[in-house]
């Protein structure tokens, strides 16, 4: 099955070291799960880009197909799929998320 959004997704996750596909945007997340990931990334002081899947049906379906992951939000770091809200939350709580950002050379706030 062809994925018309794949080229754009590849470009986005390559250009942005931390890329979040979400519902809404950083200022106005439109889903509790997206809001939680935004909150975590903000707390960690990570520089990240977002794409709003609600504004683009092609992207909304395309990102699910691209990652073989059925739900939004989806976090990518250095082009690699990390997970959705549950995984990001678990990794944040255990300290693995900060560790992963540091390993991948993504600056995080010192106390995160």
């Amino acid at each position: 099955m062809t994925n018309p959004a794949a080229t754009r997704i590849e470009a986005d996750i390559t250009a942005n070291p931390v890329m979040l596909y979400m519902k809404g945007n950083k200022q106005f997340p439109q889903c509790g799960f997206s809001a939680r990931v935004v909150q975590i990334l903000n707390h960690m002081g990570v520089d990240y880009a977002t794409a709003n899947v609600l504004e683009d049906a092609e992207l909304r379906d395309g990102i699910k197909q691209f990652s073989n992951w059925p739900t939004i939000p989806q976090l990518y770091v250095k082009g690699e799929f990390v997970g959705g809200c549950d995984i990001v939350t678990e990794m944040f709580q255990s300290g693995e998320l900060a560790e992963m950002f540091r390993e991948k050379g993504v600056p995080v706030r010192a106390d995160a």
């Binding site: 519902k23 799960f33 609600l54 059925p70 799929f81 990390v82 549950d86 995984i87």
Partner: protein, 92 residues
Amino acid sequence: MADRAARIASILTTQFAPVALQVADESHHHAGHAGAHPDGQTHFHVALTSPRFAGLGRVARSRLVHEALDQEFSSGLHALRLTLAAPEDDAA
């Protein structure tokens, strides 16, 4: 739409030989939200401990559950909160 929670529990019991399994319908927490349906049955929490997860990372564990519940996603399941463990995790 029959009881999705019962269906999810049945599918997971068959495929994962769970040591522990809990399925909760959390749709009422999301009423009025874009993915919500008036009849509910859209948002679920699954806590599953299965030997099938041994040695797998978080993404791989979740993918197994997503695959098992593929039909449910196609028929209106909107969000799945997953708490997945292997029996060996505690010992690690």
